[in-house]
């Protein structure tokens, strides 16, 4: 069945695109996770919805490029809004994130409903952006999204050393002369783009999961940033791949939930099985420690016995 699907060149390309979107989501998500910006991905994804709707209303077409531009502008507005609120009021960042997420998403849903009622019924197909429908991609969408995903991965490879340092110790990075503020903006911009292209595969509501679950899962298997980024990318790619395949097999099921569930499956496995941080690993090392303690106690007792006897 899967083989038959993959013979279809259209399906093959869509699967390829989902795989690349998952890959770039996992790679960028690693940095977002380590910089404690997990929620930022969620805000950006939800903020994208009004951006996409306005782009559709202005251009009247379902053009991926304009959607990306609209989503990017909305995402940037959301991040500026959060920065403004936290700087000029007593509201803390978590509250500011929650507020902007719901405000932007509300506007998005209002606009989406308006479009669905007024633009020739459901023809716009924008509702696929809520939960993702990889199969809704046209061939030109696929080319564009795949190219953007590859550019994102290349940028991360190129700036790996700098991104690592600003994620671990931004003050030290500033001290050795890196333009930290500009690099942070640039990384944020890459995350925005990763979110926007990923929306096509998993949708607005679940995009944060595709950013964070692969990163969290990868952290279970390594203590090395380079390896973590690669593993997270692989997990994202696998999730995108299997989510799209499953969605094609089971008609009408949206890609997003299936992709996220694939990633969650790998997360659950890691939570249990990872040798160092997993539940089984922790249980084994605690058991070993207890056995060593018992053994050394025995030795001590025997020595005392021998001393006492002699």
């Amino acid at each position: 069945m899967i083989e038959m699907l993959l013979y279809d060149p259209n399906v093959r390309w869509v699967v390829m695109a989902s795989l690349l979107l998952g890959l770039s989501g996992g790679v960028l998500g690693s940095f977002a996770f380590l910089r404690k910006q997990s929620l930022m991905g969620d805000v950006l994804a939800h903020a994208a919805l009004p951006g996409i709707c306005i782009a559709f209303m202005l251009t009247g077409t379902r053009s991926m490029l304009w959607f990306m531009i609209g989503a990017a502008i909305a995402g940037m507005l959301a991040t500026f809004g959060i920065g403004f609120i936290t700087r000029h009021s007593r509201i803390k960042q978590d509250a500011a994130l929650a507020m902007s997420l719901s405000v932007f998403f509300s506007v998005g849903v209002v606009l989406l409903t308006h479009i669905q009622h007024h633009v020739r019924g459901n023809q716009s197909g924008l509702d696929t952006f809520l939960f993702g429908q990889a199969a809704a991609m046209t061939m030109s969408d696929v080319y564009l999204l795949a190219t953007v995903a590859l550019i994102l991965i290349a940028a991360c490879a190129l700036f790996f050393k700098e991104f690592k340092l600003i994620s671990f110790d931004p003050e030290f990075a500033k001290g050795i002369g890196l333009p930290v503020a500009a690099l942070e903006q640039f990384l944020m911009f890459l995350i925005v783009i990763a979110v926007i292209v990923g929306i096509q595969a998993v949708g607005v509501v679940l995009m944060a999961a595709l950013l964070i679950i692969p990163a969290v899962t990868a952290r279970y298997w390594t203590d090395h940033l380079g390896h973590m980024v690669v593993i997270a990318g692989a997990i994202g790619a696998f999730s995108g791949f299997s989510g799209t395949i499953l969605s094609t097999l089971a008609h009408h099921l949206p890609t997003g939930p299936l992709t996220v569930l694939s990633a969650t499956f790998l997360f659950a496995l890691s939570l249990i099985l990872s040798p160092k941080r997993g539940l089984v690993g922790k249980w084994l090392s605690r058991r070993k420690a207890r056995m060593l303690l018992v053994a050394s106690d025995h030795l001590e007792q025997e020595r005392a016995f021998v001393r006492g006897g002699g």
Partner: protein
């Protein structure tokens, strides 16, 4: 001319946090090759002084030069050891990797650290007695070991002036000794080291020069001349009890 060559010269520096003044009208000139302790009560602006000099926090007013030049031109010759709590030690990296970050400034854009960086980083780890821990995940290190890794990272920068923010906080006795040995080594190489320090009982033993700071600069000079009961009282206000017994001075802060 000779005066302008001072490794660090600060003129009329003021810094505020929101509308609250943290540092006011600070002026001083640091001599070359000295070990300098920056001492003062909590909230005196000790860390802020270092950070504003290194342009990590904005200054309200004032001029700072290193060897007569602005910070940006001589950045590579300046080493900085931040407070240990300033980073997340659960970050996925090991001790050697953190030390290699000290070479990133020399490497420049897009170039990956290689064999040479590895060699230099291992050498620095050896200098702080941490060579056996080079591949240890950083969360698996004790507080003192983490501090030594930070020191090794600064050493590998091969700077001429070092700024250290409370390197002795929360470290074991062995680390404290390792750090002070290292500071003396640096001094012997003609480097200048400024250390934010809070333990008054060790100031006389550790530092050639001492700065007494409490928002304003109260005294700066050779420790013997500056670290006196009257100047300390002036700096700490009522927050210091000085017990003098048999010519020995004991200090209690509260």
């Amino acid at each position: 001319m000779i005066q302008s060559k001072a490794p660090l010269k600060v003129t009329d520096l003021s810094v505020s946090y929101h509308d609250k003044p943290v540092l006011e009208h600070i002026s001083f000139e640091v001599p070359e090759g000295k070990l300098i302790g920056i001492v003062g009560p909590n909230g005196a602006g000790k860390s802020t002084l270092i950070k504003s000099v290194l342009e990590l926090v904005p200054r309200l007013k004032g001029e700072v030069t290193f060897w007569g030049q602005p910070y940006k031109r001589v950045q590579k010759r300046i080493g900085y050891v931040p407070q240990r709590e300033s980073v997340d030690w659960d970050f996925p990296t090991n001790a050697l990797d953190v030390v290699m970050m000290g070479r990133y400034g020399h490497l420049g854009w897009f170039r990956r650290p290689g064999k040479e960086e590895r060699r230099l980083a291992l050498e620095s780890l050896r200098m702080v007695g941490m060579e056996a821990y080079s591949d240890r995940q950083i969360s698996q290190l004790s507080g003192g070991q983490q501090q030594r890794v930070f020191l090794a990272r600064a050493l590998v920068q091969d700077a001429r002036i070092y700024f250290m923010d409370e390197p002795f906080v929360g470290v074991d006795a062995a680390t404290e000794k390792a750090i002070i040995t290292l500071l003396n080594d640096l001094k012997r190489q003609g480097k200048t080291v400024l250390v934010v320090h809070h333990d008054l009982s060790t100031v006389k033993e550790y530092f050639d020069w001492t700065m007494l700071l409490n928002v304003r600069l109260h005294a700066f000079g050779p420790t013997d001349e500056v670290f006196t009961p009257s100047l300390l009282k002036k700096t700490y206000g009522g927050r210091l009890t000085i017990l003098e017994q048999e010519g020995k001075m004991s200090l209690l802060t509260n």
